[in-house]
Symmetry: none
Subunit: 202 residues, 4 copies
DNA sequence: TATGAATGAGGGTTCATTCAT
DNA sequence: AATGAATGAACCCTCATTCAT
């Protein structure tokens, strides 16, 4: 017999897989059940509704992300290390659970309409946290001060998001830590130093 | 009496508004009809199906974007002017038709599952074009050469996309040309020069 | 300018063609209009409704058939000539206007549910007339008297109907009068003399 | 609680009844559900679509008919017994399940346009089988040889079909075996010996 | 006459959810 | 815990018919 926790986790994973395959709105509860190898009635023993099930996926993602952010805040790391940790986290998450990240990137990022109020909150709150990190960087003169912190957040998150999106798009696999490190450093380098070349003018 | 062309345009606008409101998948044809102030049967005189109607929205967006890219290519502008034009285009589009841009940003960017093959093509083709621009910049030493052009595209498009997304998210209004110019220059500055501050280290 | 009569006839023919192609219930007024080369609004100038139009087709067929039967009755022909005339009529009609006969055979014969009361009447009335012919044949000892006339009608009409149906089924063309004569005589022969062979027993 | 098999059969019967009442094309799934005393969603648990449900009716009819034909072929009966069995089968089927036969006769016989390819195949295949029986009869000199076997099939099947049709038309009930036997013998007699009377000429 | 834009009732189908077993 | 039969609201789409021009 399968334990209650395991069953729940199986359903969760099945749901992620189904959403990845068909998209959030076309994901059917019966597909989730089929993917989990159970009857669809049973899904309702573990998750009260489709909304519930899918909310739990969103929460899982954000909760982890906010937990990371908390740790970074508490540990008082240097700015670059904080940013590095965030980038690394995304890549690592993608390596460990590509389906979950895929779902997040393709279905929940950059979307308002599918988001109920609670989900929207997550997005806004997270950007706020990044803003705070950027502000600290500006305060310590590690980041330029002639830009609103929000702009710094935008370009940082934008780059990160786009890179992960593109990996998702082509189903790219991350093979080892070194690859994650390389990508991470590239993003940081670009973010900090910009794209300008030798003859790029002043 | 409304002309045939106008009717079609009205339905188009109504569809954009409805998608903005409810999202692509929850947008009902009956809502589109209601928003356009017509019977829903009439929608089918102008668009063969929901798919048709929504495809036409996607096409409209991309066609314009590719037209801009064509012009840039033909006119042989300096790199920075090309990038500036692209950023400006997004902001201008947002100012002129916030709903259309909202729909694009929230529904069609960063999504694979909802995209049929044709739509996916657009995405891939556009990134290719941006890559080409970046390659040219690298060839002329205007952009650093120690990065794959695709990475430069990522950070550029990511920043652009994220900024527009965030404007969409908070329903921000663009008031005048100067605001567009200011945002554009900020993005370019950040893209080219990076976020590093005085004490940011080497 | 097309005369009113001609227009009406064109629509009629178009309707027959469309019914032949798609069947009675899937025949669309817009298809009829398209086949007639006119706008679908115009169809309603000539026929008040779909029902009207299709009723007129049914009526046309039956009216001709009953006219034939009247003539046969008035002219007091020998039994065999009457039957021959009826068979010949079906084949001739098929040769002249295969589409009309096709529609009749495939859509209106042997059907009750599609038939409104008026159409059902036609069927019943026609069998009655054939019964009368058979009765006369029995009275004159030209036909065996140990069968209800209705049975004689059945086997006669059944053979006729099935043969025409099968020509319709394979889109067979009738080329000349001799072919019609040959088929007619075969049917009559079979009807009168039966299928028994030399060793068929008593 | 109703067993799964019974439910399916109930829906089947309800569908037959509804088609009998309204005809194939006007038969609504909601009517089928209503007739079966269930919600219309449930119909889709048992039959994937309207097409599916109605195909199964057609198949049921033909499968039985072909099974009969197989038995006749294997048992190597005398010609007359084969023909008798076929006629008897139709009458028996009508007695047992008048609605099914009604639907078959009124909706699926003599129709091409409503028939998809698969259904058309059934028709053609069955006539072929009857042809074979007739050929055998001709080979054994039990049937006249101056006619194509197909013509013999026509008159035989035509008579049979028309008789059943007419019973359907007037909702005639078959009361006992003797009635079936009587009708069967009449058809055979007419088929074999023809309708000619004493003074019917040579 | 002639057009085709406009209407809207109606039907097939989907799928989240409930519940008897 | 587990099943899947059962429900029915919801949605896409069709098409006969009307009517302004």
């Amino acid at each position: 017999m399968v334990s209650k926790q395991n069953r729940e986790k199986e359903i969760f994973k099945a749901a992620v897989a189904v959403i990845k395959e068909h998209g959030f709105h076309k994901a059917k509860m019966s597909d989730v059940a089929k993917a989990a190898g159970i009857s669809y009635g049973l899904v309702y023993h573990y998750y009260g509704s489709k909304e519930d099930l899918f909310d739990s996926i969103v929460s899982r993602w954000w909760d982890r992300l906010f937990r990371l952010e908390s740790e970074l805040r508490e540990n008082d790391l240097p700015l670059v290390d904080k940013l590095r940790a965030i980038v690394f986290y995304f890549l690592d998450a993608y390596q460990r659970d590509p389906a979950l990240v895929t779902v997040f990137v393709t279905e929940f990022s950059n979307t308002t309409s599918k988001l109920n109020a609670k989900r929207l909150e997550y997005s806004i709150k997270f950007v706020d946290r990044i803003d705070t990190i950027m502000e600290e960087g500006q305060a310590g003169c590690l980041l330029r001060q002639d830009m609103k912190p929000r702009y710094l957040s935008y370009i940082f998150m934008g780059a990160l998001n786009t890179i992960v999106s593109s990996m998702v798009l082509v189903n790219e696999e991350i093979k080892g830590d070194e690859q994650k490190t390389r990508i991470t450093e590239s993003i940081l380098d670009l973010f900090l130093n910009g794209a300008r070349g030798a003859k790029g003018g002043t």
